[in-house]
Assembly symmetry: D3
Homo-oligomer: 200 residues x 6
């Protein structure tokens, strides 16, 4: 797998240059260390299919609702972000960070396509069509987030989806990198904010 690492204060960005399928196994702890040798909090960004089987799903609500579907989480073409943090690994913080990542993705996509998206918790919509899938998880020594944003509106049958191309986003790779870098900037800025604030 060809990739590039961009080092930033508290996090590394790994941009995967080949197409890579998201199968749900990538959410496991230390996946980024195993594949890209990073020993820092990190976000891996890549483009490819999404095909998550029941057994790799972490959202028990989805598992229940879609138990009759073999591969409930799918996308023919998507940009994916896999975040791993080791500093605070409780699930609440991780879901807060997930929301922030999704807000950032929304801000960047809206600017890019000049359309207004709707965010509902960890889902992005345009005209009631689903643009994204996401989960936040906790392991014993780290926490992880996956965010997948459809590029094309194909590959899913049980929900109506939309893709970045339908929205008129042209430079998919550039948008992918912008989202990842903005998330890192936000995390770094928060680290700075913590170190300038008086207690009450």
């Amino acid at each position: 797998m060809r990739f590039e690492i961009i080092e930033k204060e508290y996090m590394d960005l790994i941009i995967v240059k080949d197409f890579l399928k998201y199968t749900g196994k990538e959410i496991e702890p230390l996946w980024a260390f195993k594949n890209f040798n990073v020993q820092k909090d990190n976000i891996v960004a890549f483009r490819g299919k999404i095909e998550v089987d029941q057994e790799h799903m972490k959202d028990l609500k989805d598992v229940k609702r879609e138990q009759h579907i073999k591969t409930p989480i799918r996308s023919d073409d998507s940009i994916n972000f896999i975040v791993e943090h080791f500093d605070m690994i409780d699930l609440k913080t991780t879901y807060l960070r997930q929301r922030l990542l999704i807000c950032i993705a929304k801000e960047i996509i809206e600017r890019e396509c000049n359309k207004k998206l709707k965010r509902d918790g960890d889902d992005l919509y345009y005209n009631n069509k689903k643009l994204s899938v996401s989960i936040a998880c906790k392991g014993i020594t780290s926490s992880k987030i996956h965010l997948g944003i459809n590029v094309k509106s194909k590959g899913v049958e049980h929900v109506e989806i939309i893709g970045l191309e339908d929205l008129g986003v042209e430079n998919i790779k550039e948008v992918m990198i912008k989202i990842a870098l903005s998330y890192i900037d936000e995390i770094n800025k928060i680290e700075k904010d913590i170190r300038k604030t008086l207690p009450i």
Copy 2:
């Protein structure tokens, strides 16, 4: 002070019905319990002036930069949100929640006025004019957030500001309540998300 309490799962919303000045003292722990008798995580929403003196500022960076100004944080008319959480009180979580509150405020204001705002960390801008002020803080038993959004563009001299009225927002009070309720919804939804996710 006249106020109304709306109880929601993990948080209460207190809507203050009179004008109330934000002076920086409201950021102190248990201010909401003292004034509104709430014994739950909460968000207090009110409209009024902002006048924070040097001695009540918690952002040491601002204190340094604006030490020659007696009342550096000002607004003639603003909507204010004071959040207090007791569940996770570390400063990192608190700043993450602050960012989320600001993303939510941005989403709601944009929908209301059909204009595109810019968020930079914990600041909202329109056309490079500052729309908001915010701080996140930690005490011994709780954490607090203040977010103030200008209604009018008066009352500040050392930075160029803009207000909701300049953006064409008409129903100020309604927007204020929507922001507060959306924040509570988000927090409640995260609590639910935590309780449906498998570990990795």
Copy 3:
């Protein structure tokens, strides 16, 4: 399985209406979500047999002591409580909560039968006969407690046990619900107490 859900501030009570055997598998994380769809801290109360095999025991001390017994934890008829918390999941807090649950059960049973029980850590006794079994556990994203209180004194051979019926408790189901509700009240009251106390 027929059940009823009673929603209370920070916790839900699930009352199972059918007899249900406690086998030790119910202590696994998210068991209540899988079976009753609750996405809140919760206590599940039900009546039935207890039969825990070696492989589902979490108390290594018991495992050691009773390794020659295939099903060391047994009761022919018991009321059972399964608590799951997601807010603070460390084992120390969980054992403190277990003790509190047992103190509450003791208070309610004593009032009901007008007899004096003896508590020794997480065990209840009457006349040196064992009335209860209990364990507290920690997973990656939640902590759990099981408390089983014998209704009848049958089903166990290696220790002398006693049951609620031997003590003269008549309305077993009512007592079961009272214990669960009192535990929830206590937890809710502590949440309130946290939000009224000045730091030192």
Copy 4:
């Protein structure tokens, strides 16, 4: 001040031999180290008056309700327990420990006087008369609990109280020591329980 120290695994017991007034200042962090030189989690047990002025009260709810009373928390004669923990200092754990201390006190007093008390959160009652006062607090490096149990029913005007002597408890000092030792035993036992339990 004359005192005796009894060292137990994770906690020390300090028995003060002279009468000592509880004024609310004793709740401050490291009070036991300053006075008795203990460098361990500890419980100090002593007999004496209770006279807590408004300014030393930590329960803001009481402060509000009794703001017209100069010394709202009073007792002419009481046994007092001051607990300090440094291992887990969050307020939730501290309130759980407070409840446990009160359950233990209740169990011991009931056995001693052969009467049935009523516990409501952190209050003990007999025939609707208040037997105890209590608070749990958090500082920056430790958490503290105060529990005062009336010996006599004098010294308070605004609530009806009862004392251990009214209940027929004879050996006040012995009961005081029993309660403190039982609390320590419980804490030590929980420490042991944590170290025998398999994860889920």
Copy 5:
């Protein structure tokens, strides 16, 4: 297995009297409770071979680098320390404690052989030859450290090692016990330090 337990304030020392091979399975949670019945934070000290297969290695960096070697971590004869803490189990604290254990081992060995060792993170060297192996790990309810110090310089091929005997250390067992006891003393002293320090 013959062993001796020495009880110290917050930790127990278990000295294993027979030779015991370190295979990597000993790093699993509650190993000391299973084998020596200790229900306290503890350090187990023993002498024996080290033979850790790929599957029992916890250092993913080593796993990657030495994936062609079946048993990458080896020593023909070594003194071993296995530490288990239940009080603070996050990995950062555990690595800090590991460093402290290694600093203590270094201090004691240097005094014993009157030679100057070099420490690089969690490795000890003499003349660029490796004297030790170590890892720190986190489970769901406890954290563990393994430190192995070569007695002889045999048994390893892919790195140049040195042993205590090469350094002229004579009383191997005494040194082993000294290191373990000094670690316990340090941990106990820190517990005392925490209980004498004013907040800032």
Copy 6:
């Protein structure tokens, strides 16, 4: 005050170029941000006198023992290190880091002067003469460590001290910088270690 900032992964080093007196006020939170504008975990290194009055002492044990001495902590000439961490601020972690800083200082000084020092907890000695003073503290949003190492053996009367010059250390400033940089390296290495270790 003239100073230089050296930025390293997770920490900044601030080298103060002028002589600076350590008075105990420097241990207060955010002192480094106020003076050197750093918004990162950091270590400030400087040379100068030490004169800490009773009122600025954080070690209550020293306060008790030396209450008759107006300025108990003194040194005519010393190198000083002030560490501030915001990532994990509990006192236990802070004392572990303090010990590590002292072990590192010992290693570097020993190498420099080719003499063997003795460490007892957080004190360094040579021939039973005290070389250093140190404290670790916790605030609401950060934790701090001070380590002072005498350069000269003057300025103290109530204990026998020794200084780096007595030990033959020549390049005092270089040693000071080496100690600070080694501490930062160790902290950075631990951050890396956390991100390569499999759970148990």
